[in-house]
Amino acid sequence: MLRCLVIGIVLLVLSAGCGEDPFVEPGDLEHIPFGATPYTPQIPQGFPQLEQPASNPMTVEGVWLGRKLFFDPILSRDSTMSCSSCHLQASGFTDALPVSEGVDGIAGKRSAMSLINAGFMYNGLFWDGRAASLEEQALLPVEDPIELHDTWDNVEAKLQRHPDYPADFRRAFGIRDKEEITRDLTVRAIAQFERTLISTGQSRFDQFMRGEIFLEENEFNGFEMYFDISGELPDAECAHCHAAPLLTTNGFRNNGIEDVATIDDFPDLGLGAVTGDRFDNGKFKIPTLRNIEYTAPYMHDGRFATLEEVIEHYNSGGFRVENTDPLIRPLGLTEQQKADLLAFLLTFSDTTFLTKEAFSNPF
């Protein structure tokens, strides 16, 4: 009797030591508790509400999984690149290159966009607006030959056989079997993480707008020109497109950077290639100016290396064709006024965002 009891205990210990439930099929994850915790985004004063798709509500576990996936090169064909390779936190989630390069070293034709406040971009993502949501956007780079150049079938297989991800997907989405790891859940997790990339509200601009600090005189001059407040200083025409609080209106414009004879001659059609409307040719998404100090080079093709060059472009009035925004015109800013405007743009810097631990590489 005693011998039977000892054998029974030994068997029990051995089975527990194996870490496998003898009644659980291979791949079965139901032994892992699932009870995803709703995630409450931290939104600065004056910002709009963050809208989450009903099909993808943010959870603590979903955000955590998305953060891991964002920084994990497992999404690329040769495991050398991740989302974070082109969206570096220290560079305001851009890559400091004129145009990004993929796993094959092939340069794309556009610059990596900043992801700050990406969750508030409801009017089309990418420079040409071809993705309607963050979820839809995250689907595309994996199979793009000039980006991660993998296949979703392969990525799904890699995630399913990974030692940790099946449990992470279980905790985030309640899957019961690792076979249920799909591209859809993968991009939902990434989108949840991206929706957390919200301004901290600690920039000098934000503090000034809340009435907590005064700006320096030159910064204030720039503020007046940016928002066209003063009758004495010229209107720099910035706020029409880079309106507060997001410092973008989420629209698409031809801002006069391309010297073309007609609207059919743009080397990159931008929005026009997506809509098929020739009057949208040469229009690109208006980027946010938050953390603009850290997101050089500028424009969709990274043609301007510095903010001084950007200001010079707008001061010149750019190139005019039929669909150039009418507010693109010679501004007549003096050297001092240009310097003041630059000083104001630097108040958009949110260094807390650039170093926030919750946005950093978890590995």
Partner: protein
Amino acid sequence: MKHIFRFMIAVLLLVVLSACKDDEGSLTVAFTATYGTEPLVMFDIHDYAFDQRVQFTRLEFFISNLGLIRRDGTVYKLSDLELIDLTFTDRGAAETGVELTYRGVPAGTYESVQFALGVDPVLNATVPADYSSDHPLSETGRYWHAWNSYIFSKSEGNLDTLNDGTDNPDLGFAYHTGTDDFYLPIATGFPISIPDGAGEKITFRLNYEALFGVSVGDLIDIQAKPQNHNPLDTLEINKILDNYLGALSFIIE
């Protein structure tokens, strides 16, 4: 079985009766843009004053408090706010314009249709962050933070000052209006009847040739002042507001 049949007849009758509710009709309110008598299609080129040519690229405005004035002076409210975006690049859409249909309008004769150009002062005291992204007031590009006001109307385009036949206008223009001072109530002052169980339609035509004072009214010298979106500098804005009444017509169909 007989009872089930009677029950089904009763349900059918109920459905039919509720669908044909007495004393209600619908009203479609349409807005179209014209240049003279022609539908105004974006990027089409039209003759302007001073031997110049003009091309419109964006036309939009808010209307507030759209309603029907009853004989006793009270108002049947149709809508608090609508964004009228007349930026159409094809002729068919420009001819149709923006159509807003309101159902369940009490049938009868009303003294007038009324609305205001602009955002009602109560709503104009809000900010875009107060609204969800599908609301027209959420768009920060339609708000002046500096002036705490929505932009009530935008009329943008290009002017060909050279008229050299190149079809390449050389000067952009943008006239934006806003702030409570420029909120403009409008009433047709003409009776309109909403028939029982049927629809009525009223179409408002905004003639931008007249709005810019080319045919009648105060002429906008675009070349001299191509931008006037600052409410502290209101010369052209005032001209446009003065021209509205002569530029806006309506037809009840």
